[in-house]
Subunit: 213 residues, 2 copies
């Protein structure tokens, strides 16, 4: 499999965590989003949305949108499972993942912050205030849900889809210097996940295209 | 089942379409988002995120986040199916749905447009420009994907999860007066879906709490 991605993209990070937790090996192709490489014509044929990641499977299928890729991985490589067995429990895990995937992450995307800068003249402080609002709202709700359903991890005692979403979102929160001290359970669950070698290996700084300034 | 929702919310509309396509009956409880009813303490215990919809199942489970609710409906009530049988095809359908659910819809949410107004003083024209940007980017990519995969509907000849997302997103685009003429295949697929009685019955204007001005 080939993962077309970018070291610092949250959805790329999310997908690497899932691939690693499943014990799968994959090649990487890097697209520097800061240089707009995802807009090249060759990549557009792979992914008409011109966003990362895209997972090219061994049979040549081009899978886009990380939530869909994660469900495909779960169907195609069921063990170790990232979802509980029971339908109601699966729905709770998927809801906690979607809370991040729909209601936090997209609002802090590079293209969205760029639009705030060009359309509204947002400066660094305004961008921080914007991202802190969505991370704060979402993390507050997640903290309650982790209190209800979490144990060692955000849902129960084994990593689930939630960790794939949570770890990159916390990485982003830390980059934007959001105060995460009001969410101790969320932090404990994320730290348990970050300590796993499979999750650690997915960290942006460990990728071949990493270029920390 | 009880669907806690709001007539004009896109994610509520999405969930009603899925319930109707599955032929399921449900009660509705309405929360007027303009009056902030979703922030009442009683609703917060149902849904810590204080957003609609929440689906209360017959066994008392509280399901939140429409992408998770739709997957639960598909697992619990498999026929008629809203996903193809083949894993790669399922991934494409889920990706087309997630393109709307993650990269278009959340950016036009009421709370996000409110933040643009309070933080950046956005007026009606600026809000329209903002929503048109995300709908335009997303619909352009969807048009290519529907050209590849669509027939009568956005993916093949039967309605899938995509229609649940597409019809409410087009309703929103029309409300914001976005020019959708560059996306004829998308429009044809959405119109085929809107003509189905199950989809028509989910329209905001037909809900008990509808209050068109």
């Amino acid at each position: 499999m080939i993962l077309h991605n970018y070291w610092r993209s949250g959805t790329s990070y999310r997908t690497r965590i899932a691939l690693n937790l499943k014990g799968l090996t994959y090649e990487q192709r890097a697209y520097d989003l800061r240089a707009g490489m995802q807009k090249d014509a060759a990549y557009k044929t792979l992914n008409p949305q011109m966003m990362v990641p895209t997972l090219e499977t061994d049979d040549g299928a081009l899978l886009t949108q990380s939530p869909a890729i994660l469900e495909w991985l779960e169907e195609r490589y069921p063990e170790p499972s990232l979802l509980p067995k029971n339908a109601n429990e699966r729905a709770i895990v998927r809801a906690m993942a979607a809370l991040i995937g729909c209601d936090i992450h997209p609002l802090g995307n590079l293209r969205v912050l760029g639009q705030l800068r060009t359309q509204f003249g947002a400066d660094g402080a305004a961008v921080k205030q914007w991202t802190a609002r969505w991370i704060g709202d979402g993390f507050a709700a997640l903290e309650t849900l982790i209190e209800r359903h979490g144990r060692r991890f955000a849902y129960g005692d084994v990593p689930t889809l939630i960790e794939c979403y949570l770890v990159p979102q916390l990485y982003s929160a830390e980059r934007f210097e959001v105060d995460v001290s009001p969410y101790p359970r969320l932090l404990a669950a994320a730290n348990a996940a970050r300590a796993l070698p499979e999750v650690e290996a997915a960290h942006p700084d460990r990728q071949p295209d990493a270029d920390p300034q």
